[in-house]
């Protein structure tokens, strides 16, 4: 009784029992211990606290986002290897390497982690690193909120990984459709882990969306009106507006699902007047815009990259801006295409099919504009351009399969099949992931002061492109053969096995690509002296982030630049003019704050209480988090620090010296 009150549903059974999960759990705990030991041995705790954990500087936060995302990418890949190994071996009499329950947890984790903690993490990371400098700003609009956003994202990540060690993860797929995700059919804690890690990370994303929207609207430097913004900033703007509109839907939907599960309510249950179809509608009303939330910034990165490496102004800037907003608007009018097969009438299905196809128009226009940016240019084929070429070919193929899926009559035959799985990986890998890798390579010297090794970067891109084709093209055929997603076992007579094996080999090639990327990172750090960016502008680029040193000082620009045109930095280089005056003024920078990580700690433990039904912990930690917010809000401490001119001069001299050495 007391144990029940004290620990809720938590008991010794929560520890993993299957070999493969025990292995995963032990590995995770050991690597955590190793990290803690290393930090202690090198006496880095203070440094970590002062320079990273409590930072509110957008560049530091961006780097932390990317570190988390890369670690999660490795976990998501490990998941995929398990899935493909199971599907390549579990045929006929053989039952493969893992049980069906584990298999279902693994694919649910794979989807959730890749979207929420890899793609979103890389996106927010790169936006943090680049956007303020590109606008000629010293930081984001709300630096402290930015820290809270990141720490909520990190808390969600920790919670989803906790499920590996304590309890289990959801086995209901990455969107957890009810009734399967209801307490009646998934009584364990898995779905609750899923709900709460997304809930926490999602609220962080919502706050980031508001933060970046405000940054773009309010912090553009002098002379930069909206139509002089770089296209990356425009696409981030579109994406963040989508975040602000879409994420509240996710928060509400997850809350209702939790109320159903924990308190026996009937929002989405089959009985008691609930309606599961409502959940499916709501989750996709968030879920479809989510796709564009991810892909728009990737489009923006490609716009900057193509223009820079073609040494030419971006073609059709106005068209590009209109295309972004057409996509933003349309993305909210297509959600039903995810369930044409739910049985709505022909008029409804046809309407959503048509709206979906309309999105192909602005997307196609963007591709033509990129190609015409290259036309009559001087194209320098760096590794970001290899990612771009891979993107053009593969993403276009994904677009074609997308148009097929948009026709309800065709969708009826390939819905939920591996054709669909191949299609959305086609969009997300070659659209979003390639874009983010290109962007990371492109902006790496700006962030760290040295470039990534080009040869290894090109090799990695080729491995990803070839691995992608091997991993996903067989899935298109498998879909035509009637293979559906999420099968942990199938009959040998269906003839699917050879294609699953090829797909598994493709996954291995992609892993090799990731291996080369890690090697590239390590090698580049080792050779950082030779790869050093001494100019602040290694690519002969066009936008304001390249006008400052690499890496930029804490305040980005000692004197804020003033622009009169698009590609102002490029114009200034052409005309040998300067964007800034020499007149230094004191600069305000945000101070460190421990409140962000503390609030998130409270939220994390409260969420853990929600998962295990430990109600006293929920109440206590919610109060703790609220108190931390109040403390920060009501505190008299200044949240910003003034750098006087004398110190500023010294800092400028130092950072110029460091760059030149």
């Amino acid at each position: 009784m007391i144990a029940n009150w004290l620990l809720g549903r938590l008991n010794w059974d929560a520890l993993p029992s299957e070999m493969i999960t025990i292995g995963g759990a032990i590995m995770m705990v050991l690597s955590l211990l190793a990290i803690v030991a290393a930090i202690t041995y090198f006496k880095r705790w203070k440094w970590l606290w002062r320079e990273w954990i409590t930072t509110t500087n957008h560049k530091r936060i961006g780097i932390m986002y990317i570190v988390v995302a890369v670690v999660m990418l490795l976990r998501g890949l490990a998941d995929v290897l398990m899935l493909r190994a199971q599907q390549a071996t579990s045929v006929g009499a053989s039952n493969g390497i893992i049980t069906s329950d584990t298999f279902q947890q693994v694919f649910s984790a794979h989807g959730t982690i890749m979207i929420f903690f890899v793609a979103m993490g890389l996106m927010f990371g790169i936006i943090n690193l680049v956007l303020p400098q590109q606008l000629g700003a010293r930081d984001v609009a709300f630096p402290f909120l930015n820290s809270v956003s990141f720490w909520l994202f990190a808390a969600g990540m920790v919670l989803i990984n906790t499920s590996l060690v304590i309890g289990e993860f959801s086995a209901a797929g990455w969107l957890a459709y009810p009734p399967l995700s209801e307490a009646k059919f998934s009584p364990g804690v898995g779905v609750d882990y899923w709900i709460w890690s997304l809930q926490i990370a999602g609220i962080g994303s919502l706050m980031s969306g508001i933060n970046f929207t405000t940054t773009i609207l309010k912090l553009r430097t002098k002379g930069m009106n909206m139509m002089k913004m770089p296209l990356f900033a425009w696409s981030v703007f579109g994406s963040m507006v989508l975040v602000a509109f879409a994420f509240p839907i996710l928060t509400a939907t997850l809350s209702m699902l939790y109320l159903d599960r924990a308190f026996g309510m009937h929002f989405f249950t089959a009985d008691g007047g609930g309606n599961a179809m409502m959940y499916v509608n709501l989750i996709w009303a968030w879920g479809h815009p989510e796709v564009y939330i991810l892909v728009l910034p990737a489009f923006g990165m490609f716009s900057e990259i193509v223009s820079t490496f073609s040494r030419k102004r971006l073609f059709g800037y106005t068209s590009m801006v209109w295309a972004i907003w057409a996509i933003v608007f349309l993305s909210f009018t297509v959600w039903l295409h995810h369930f044409f097969t739910m049985g709505a009438g022909a008029n409804v299905n046809a309407f959503f099919g048509i709206m979906t196809m309309l999105i192909a128009i602005p997307t196609g226009v963007k591709i033509f504009n990129w190609l015409f940016t290259m036309y009559k240019g001087r194209i320098w084929f760096t590794s970001p351009m290899i990612w771009f070429l891979g993107f053009v070919y593969l993403f276009t193929i994904g677009g074609v399969t997308g148009v097929l899926l948009a026709v309800p009559g065709i969708d009826f035959q390939v819905h939920n099949s591996l054709f669909l799985v191949a299609h959305f990986h086609n969009m997300i890998i070659s659209g979003v992931v390639f874009g983010f890798f290109a962007g990371l390579t492109y902006w790496f010297p700006k962030i760290f002061g040295f470039s990534l090794h080009e040869g290894l970067g090109k090799l990695a891109a080729w491995l990803w492109i070839i691995g992608f084709m091997l991993a996903f093209w067989p899935l298109y055929i498998l879909g035509f053969m009637g293979a559906t997603r999420r099968l942990d076992h199938y009959d040998a007579s269906l003839g699917w096995q050879p294609l699953f094996i090829v797909a598994g080999i493709g996954a291995l090639v992609i892993c090799a690509g990731v291996g080369v990327q890690l090697l590239q990172l390590g090698y580049s750090i080792w050779k950082r002296k030779e790869l050093k960016d001494t100019t602040g502008d290694p690519w002969d680029a066009r936008t304001l982030e390249w006008a400052t040193t690499s890496p930029p000082p804490e305040y980005n620009f000692a004197v804020l630049p003033e622009v009169t045109s698009r590609d102002a930095f490029w114009e200034a280089k052409q005309h040998k003019t300067s964007l800034t005056s020499d007149k230094l003024e004191p600069v305000l920078v945000p101070k460190n704050s421990a409140a962000g990580p503390i609030i998130s700690l409270g939220v994390f433990v409260a969420a853990f209480g929600f998962v295990w039904h430990i109600w006293w912990l929920v109440i206590l930690m919610t109060l703790f988090a609220v108190a931390a917010v109040m403390w920060r809000t009501l505190s008299d401490d200044e949240s910003e620090r003034l750098i006087p001119v004398g110190e500023l001069k010294e800092l400028e001299r130092l950072s110029k010296k460091e760059q030149a050495s």
Partner: protein, 324 residues
């Protein structure tokens, strides 16, 4: 020398892609690929629709693919035949009108195709209203499929036997979580949802044994929930019905409740006779207050098939077919 090596390097990915496509075509030709080799009217229309949409997309895609490689090659830095370089050329009304215009035209045509085909291939549409139809009621369970032939008073588990060249009118529901009823060789899939009845009309034009798929994840026994579809000539079908009607196991509500308990890797089973209005009761039980015994409504049921259908229309407010 360097030029040739570069050319070879550029050609390599294309050779690789050609190889993959060749292998894919070879694989498809040697295997049963039901979506591309349909055995029913609906599946055939959907396959034709797919090819039409694919061909229309290529009008945009082929130019993109060709332009990408040509532009990349010609305007690469260090091209000895130095092509024109116009760094400030950033807009052209003509070009932009072309690539807003052509996709709009193609998508416009595709929109018309979508509208028309959505109505033609609407799962609720009866293929041929005049011809006789075989009604089959489908229930997704944990983890097996129950097929009820209401006018024949028989039922089967995990095996669906249908007469060829006759419209099969499916009513589909679930007595557990959501699933999706899909026979790739015949065409369209539709969700099976508890407390709701969806409809699907298919036919088989060729006799044969086809794969039936549970296309939506439904829990731990999901992968074993496949079913076999046997399309047989009308004569064989009648013989099968007669034989099955001799099966000695009744499907009363009590027998159904036992069947509905979760089980994996189920064998094919037959039942006869089937209690009248069973499907109706399965759908309706989600509408009743939780404390009411589930089988109560069927105990008093004396419905014939015809007024059962009428009752269905009146009693299932959540039936999906509300748009017409």
């Amino acid at each position: 020398m360097k030029q040739t090596r570069l050319r070879l390097l550029i050609a390599l990915p294309f050779v690789f892609v050609a190889l993959i496509i060749g292998l894919a075509v070879w694989y498809v030709a040697g295997h049963d690929v039901p979506v591309l080799q349909p055995r029913g009217e609906i599946g055939a229309s959907e396959q034709r629709l797919m090819i039409l949409a694919l061909l229309m997309s290529t009008i945009v895609v082929i130019p993109v693919f060709v332009m990408t490689v040509v532009i990349s090659w010609r305007y690469r830095q260090g091209n000895p035949k130095r092509k024109q370089y116009r760094p400030d050329w950033d807009s052209s009304k003509l070009y932009e009108t072309i690539w807003w215009g052509i996709p709009i035209l193609i998508i416009g045509v595709l929109c018309v195709v979508t509208w028309v085909s959505s109505h033609q291939l609407d799962p609720y549409r009866k293929l041929n209203p005049e011809a006789p139809q075989q009604k089959i009621q489908v229930v997704a369970l944990d983890w097996k499929w129950l097929f009820i032939y209401p006018d024949k008073h028989i039922a089967s588990v995990n095996e669906l036997v249908i007469p060829t060249n006759q419209t099969i009118s499916f009513d589909i529901t679930s007595d557990t979580v959501m699933n999706s009823f899909w026979i790739p060789a015949l065409g369209s899939q539709i969700y099976a949802m508890p407390g709701m009845s969806t409809a699907l009309h298919l036919n088989a034009t060729e006799p044969g044994t086809y794969y039936g798929s549970p296309a939506n994840i439904s829990g731990s026994g999901f992968a074993s929930m496949t079913f076999k579809v046997r399309a047989v000539s009308p004569n064989e079908y009648d013989a099968w019905v007669l034989g099955t009607q001799n099966a000695s196991r009744n499907l009363t509500m009590a027998a159904y409740d036992a069947l509905a308990k979760p089980s994996k890797n189920n064998k094919v089973e037959y039942f006869a006779p089937v209690q009248d209005g069973l499907y109706d009761d399965i759908v309706m039980k989600y509408m009743l207050p939780a404390d009411q015994p589930q089988s109560q409504s069927s105990d008093t049921s004396t419905k014939t098939d015809d007024n059962m259908n009428m009752n269905m229309d009146m009693h299932t407010p959540m039936e999906m077919d509300m748009t017409r």
